[in-house]
Symmetry: C2
Subunit: 455 residues, 2 copies
Amino acid sequence: MRFELTRSLLERLQSDVEEGRDQDILAVLSELHPSDIGGTLDRLTLDEARYVIRLLEPETAAEAVLELDEDVREKLLEGLTSREIAEKLIENFDSDDAADVMADLPEQKAKEVLDLLEDEEQADDIEELLRHQEGTAGALMAKELISVRADSTVARAIVDMRQQAKEVEHVYTIYVVDKDDRFFGVLPLKDLLFSAESTRTLIKHICQTDAVSVLVDTDVEEVVNQMKKYDVVVLPVVDTENRLVGRITFDDVMDVMQEEAEEDYQLASGISEDVDASDSPMVQVRARLPWLLIGLAGGILSSQIIGLYEEELRIDPKMAFFMPLIAATAGNVGVQSSAIVVQGLASGALAHVNVFARLWKELRVALLSAVICGTLIFVVNLALRQSQALSYTVSIALFTVILTAAFFGTLIPLALDRLKVDPALATGPFVTTLNDIFGLLTYFTVGHIMYDLFS
Amino acid sequence: MRFELTRSLLERLQSDVEEGRDQDILAVLSELHPSDIGGTLDRLTLDEARYVIRLLEPETAAEAVLELDEDVREKLLEGLTSREIAEKLIENFDSDDAADVMADLPEQKAKEVLDLLEDEEQADDIEELLRHQEGTAGALMAKELISVRADSTVARAIVDMRQQAKEVEHVYTIYVVDKDDRFFGVLPLKDLLFSAESTRTLIKHICQTDAVSVLVDTDVEEVVNQMKKYDVVVLPVVDTENRLVGRITFDDVMDVMQEEAEEDYQLASGISEDVDASDSPMVQVRARLPWLLIGLAGGILSSQIIGLYEEELRIDPKMAFFMPLIAATAGNVGVQSSAIVVQGLASGALAHVNVFARLWKELRVALLSAVICGTLIFVVNLALRQSQALSYTVSIALFTVILTAAFFGTLIPLALDRLKVDPALATGPFVTTLNDIFGLLTYFTVGHIMYDLFS
């Protein structure tokens, strides 16, 4: 069943496009699932891809275009006319996908496309979806759903559903509303199909009334949590008056999950969102340089701090030997502590734990690690025949920075979370830089005291 | 609709448990969705939770227990008898959940539970699932599905489905098999319900035969990709002879996505998998200490390398000032480069790019960053009135380490991926440590040359 695009197939397709052998192109692509056609378009040049899209049936073209990488899609659409976008693509999209694509178009072109849509209801739906703020349930939902009245009979409801089903590609559940269009409950297709109820039974007597719904302004993270928690494939979205306004399906939620995971990983790795391997070097530099400059500023600050202790370095240049060890350990411990907090916040495991309980636990972990690492490095330094002053300095400083890095590593993501900033920022270069500086300051302060003591 | 467990409700529940007011407990919990009962059990002590589970209806208890954190669930089950586990829980689980829970039981107890199951078919299903290797479609799938023969009439098929539907809680699609039980196609419930076909139509004439399926030994990552690509809510699983053996639903795939995202994030943060905020300090130390010791070993190695250049440090202790800057930048650049590769590999964007093309692009990014950072620090050092030798050393070393860190940062995750090791390891402390060491080596080598030149 799986399709693998071979180089020879790709080359054949490209030469077919070049020489305008339209029938051959369609013959090759007719064998493929639209998602795989999308994967194939991704490998063509933009002009080739546009040529193929113009050949394809609108439904197929629309599905294939949805599979494209967002950047590629945006560029591709730049070369299509408003009429092509409207008739070939938007009219064949579900409302949520249509709104996503429209949101990326230049304002003027989006307006033109909206005006060109034949179905006015679709145009209204898209306009409504575009009004919702990004990152809310409203911006994620689709308008296509099947709803029936709670006081209809099963027979009546089936007629209503058949009518609506033409507009909705995937139906997982039927929504039940009261006479004021307020959300009343859900009726899984399975119950309708396999129940032995008479066709005169009222829907309200067979539907499930304990169904979960989300408000239109609910944060998408909360939407993801609700869907995972209740294992529902589709979530109804209601407005503040409990009127049913849309539905969110599992595939949209999967996309959100992936984006959020990528965001955390990127924050931890010091690259801005919205940059990936396919971006041009210039775009990548723009996304990555700010983090490097933060590191650079930290490094300059470090140099100034070390400068304060130039005298110590003159007395014993060996002091410099262990700077990397102290800084790296401070960084590692801090990132570990922050990562545990970030994951605890994400999973909800820390939702009911107070800050002091969390800190106290983390400090016990740190204390044990600090004793082990501090002792180990002391033994190593004895074996390396380092001076007493240096050996004590390294061990005491290491012990101290492990504790302080764990302390700040725990506190910073918790504080960021309170301030509604993504706590994953704490596992990135910014906090690592702070830990570096603080670690060196500790090291030289301890060194200053120890060299006095042992001189 | 959303439930928020309040402290007062929790306290009331705990005192009800303590004084054995069973009716009151059930009255409180009957208001809640089983998933929320699971969330509530999470906040009770293990003994309290077991008391509540014994009170609940088996279906409710089973659903609530599935919502528990895996560690909590494992401990909870330790205190339940094999009979309780079999009758209260396993018999009410779907086969995939049953297999997951059984896999965590001690061998002897798992055997007892299997023997106690009333439904022999269920026991066989669980045994079969437990035989599949973890991380494959077979280990993720459930046996519960509805299948009909391709050559049945719609009327006959509906009778068959009704029979099977009792065993399957969520039905998204009907599977169609040929007379040898080979996978033939799918029949979405919607098509069955809303098509105007006569009841004498043969199923094979109305089902979709281009449906995606996965082999039982397919890697779960590939399963996730297939489900995302084709936006299907449930994937049929077939054996090597194309016989239908199970199905994987979107909720299982969401769990896998989450686990994989967490794994990458943890690798990048230097904490072992399977450790979280709720683990005891001892468990956490065990998971985190190895990474700290790697860092420590790197630090000791650094100290030896710097030791080789003690003479340089004696001549100009200011050499030490910029060690953190060099090491931190090398680390930051390396992690950025690796993270871009890791994400490209995960999204498939790098599947068709060759190593040299990738390296060449990354080197152009690095070159631009290196020129900017190297120039910037040179200007800063002029402003700080550092010596010429030191200013050139810092800038040339910084320039060099940005290029080399980008080179290794790109190459290492690509190599790990080839070796079937998770490439995200490259964004963790291990590679950062290597970059630190390599950065310092570069710095002192350049310093050695520059101080000779300017002396």
